[in-house]
């Protein structure tokens, strides 16, 4: 039913989304923590910067990334110094772009959870002997697990749905940068509606079932904790 190209795009998309989510789940928590607690004056600035990908149309973001990735600019040049092809049109380029693009989706749920986290729990953890980082991953992480899961799921989902940025910097190379969203657009543009509908359906069915399962589990947990 699906063509080899479709499978390739699906596989690539999953790879991209997983890798991006992984990177985001490493980077985002400390950033979100800092954003939730810091009292420095530059915090609103950083907060706005993180939110920027929400505002900037993705194609525009992609356009500027394309410029940034070009060998004439620092990032692209540095990349070319130990790679033989440019950062644009490469899987690595897509990962970088996706991380930037999906960052707010992961940071914001976490930040919100951290803001609402009663600091008394941190205090208790400290008196129990848990150090700064231990507190985070042994107590706060399990406690806010739902928020972490939601953050991860949103980052993953949004990377799957990412289109504008990839359109600009991807170059539509099968197996390398032709992700599902691009392939879907391709089908639509070339009037291959049947393929487009099929792929959309698969995307929908997959995403929905993943989300329904995640949200279902979270609801169960909430029920258990709140003891309805």
């Amino acid at each position: 039913m699906l063509t080899a190209g479709d499978y390739q795009a699906i596989w690539l998309t999953l790879k991209l989304a997983s890798l991006t989510t992984l990177l985001l789940m490493i980077m985002a928590p400390p950033l979100a923590w800092w954003l939730a607690r810091s009292q420095t004056k530059i915090r609103p600035l950083v907060e706005s910067l993180v939110a920027l990908p929400l505002i900037l149309p993705p194609t525009v973001l992609g356009f500027y990334l394309l410029i940034a990735f070009s060998p004439e600019h620092f990032l692209g040049e540095w990349w070319l110094s130990f790679n033989d092809s440019s950062l644009a049109f490469s899987f690595t380029g897509l990962v970088i772009a996706s991380v930037i693009y999906s960052l707010p989706f992961v940071v914001q749920p976490l930040q919100s959870a951290f803001v609402h986290l009663d600091k008394s729990y941190l205090e208790v953890s400290a008196t129990l002997g848990y150090g700064k980082f231990e507190r985070l991953y042994k107590i706060i992480f399990p406690m806010l697990l739902p928020s972490f899961i939601i953050a991860g799921a949103l980052g993953f989902a949004h990377t799957i749905g990412e289109f504008g940025v990839v359109l600009m910097i991807g170059g539509n190379i099968p197996g390398e940068t032709q992700v599902l969203s691009i392939l879907l657009f391709d089908h639509v543009e070339s009037l291959e509606y049947a393929s487009a509908h099929k792929l959309s359906f698969i995307l929908l069915a997959f995403s929905m079932s993943v989300l329904v399962v995640i949200y279902g589990c979270l609801q169960k947990r909430q029920q258990r904790v709140l003891n309805a």
Binding site: S120, E123, V124, S125, A126, T127, K132
Partner: protein, 366 residues
């Protein structure tokens, strides 16, 4: 030994800041009770000592510096993080982790305790669950507990970290009488191993538990010392509790465990005290409440009163409209008696009078 000299400024939207300044040195053995009015600064002091509140000054715990912001110019300011101070803390609210059940909450404390030097923690979950009466609650979610149940678990959690200092902020105030009666002796026992800083509003708990007290008033340490000394001092804010009573030292003479009575000597005079177990030392301390002391000009006979002390009236003051507080001297020690003005006049008492002070054995707090 816990020595501190700390300042904490709160900005309360008011014209001038609310600056609390605590200075003192506490001998760390047994329970040291922190006592003071609501809003006096007890919780703040505990939080500063625990490192949960940023503050200026120095804190020294035994040989270990916990805080020093007044370092010399070329030295670094020093602050030991809370988790390195090895304290156990019970807050005014239970603060159990909502995502874990009771057992998991306790295990979180155990996990940390065993990774530290003294792995031979004298407490285990099972023992504590039995002693504090929550064995059946171990599988409960914390949201399924009553206020008092939560508080008992919070106490167990603090103990399970195997702390070198236990800090407790009104731990028993939400408990029922039976739990209190269970926990007070328990805490006294605990304090033989781990020194306790203990905030309470209950004079009963204060006298029952502590050899040492720290009086906080309006953001300052007003006094540190033995409770009976401070309660005798008319200069202190404790004056308003003068009616409550004093502690006296008693030399144990004989112990009759079948009748549950100790016969002791207070500066040579006999005093019967009720007890359930053999006292650990030859010299014990008991509290005599002023409201329980009966004054008579002749010894009272043919009554249930076992104790009759010959005392001298050294001072008296009007407490409120209808009562007088008498300071009575027994050898080198003092007790208070609170009687109605009518009785005072009827008995024609004056400073220097030699009278008999009677106290029911049942009223003496051991």
């Amino acid at each position: 030994m816990l020595k501190f000299n700390i300042q904490k400024a709160f900005n309360n939207n008011a014209v001038n800041d609310n600056v609390l300044h605590f200075e003192g040195e506490i001998e760390l053995s047994g329970v040291c009770t922190i006592f003071g009015d609501s809003g006096a600064g007890k919780t703040t002091l505990l939080r500063c000592l625990a490192g949960l509140e940023t503050c200026e000054g120095q804190i020294q715990f035994n040989q270990q510096a916990w805080l020093n912001t007044n370092a010399l110019v070329n030295q670094n300011k020093f602050l030991l993080a809370t988790e390195k101070r090895r304290i156990g803390m019970v807050f005014q609210e239970p603060r159990l982790f909502p995502h874990l059940n009771v057992q998991q909450n306790l295990l979180l404390a155990v996990a940390k305790a065993t990774t530290q030097e003294h792995s031979d923690n004298i407490f285990t979950i099972d023992k504590l669950a039995q002693q504090l009466g929550f064995s059946e609650l171990l599988t409960y979610q914390t949201t399924q507990l009553s206020g008092g149940q939560k508080q008992r678990i919070a106490i167990a959690r603090a103990l399970l970290t195997n702390p070198t200092l236990l800090i407790m902020d009104e731990p028993l105030s939400s408990l029922d009488i039976s739990s209190k009666n269970l926990l007070l002796p328990f805490l006294k026992l605990v304090s033989l191993h781990i020194p306790i800083l203990y905030v309470t509003h209950s004079i009963h708990e204060l006298f029952y538990l502590s050899k040492n007290m720290l009086l906080v008033n309006e953001g300052k340490v007003e006094a540190i010392g033995e409770p009976q000394k401070l309660f005798l001092d008319s200069e202190l804010s404790l004056r308003k509790f003068a009616h409550q009573g004093l502690i006296v030292n008693v030399q144990v003479k004989t112990i009759d465990l079948t009748e549950g009575l100790i016969e002791g000597l207070v500066d040579g005079q006999t005093l019967f005290i009720n007890t359930v177990e053999e006292p650990k030392t030859k010299s014990i301390q008991v509290k005599i409440n002023s409201r329980d002391v009966i004054i008579a000009t002749k010894p009272i006979m043919d009554s249930s009163l076992l104790n009759c002390l010959s005392v001298q009236l050294v001072d008296f003051m009007k407490d409120d409209k209808n009562s007088m507080i008498l300071t009575l001297k027994i050898g080198s020690q003092f007790i208070y008696a609170r009687i109605t003005s009518r009785s005072f006049h009827k008995l024609q008492l004056e400073v220097g009078s030699c009278v008999y002070a009677h106290v029911k054995t049942m009223s003496i707090i051991n």
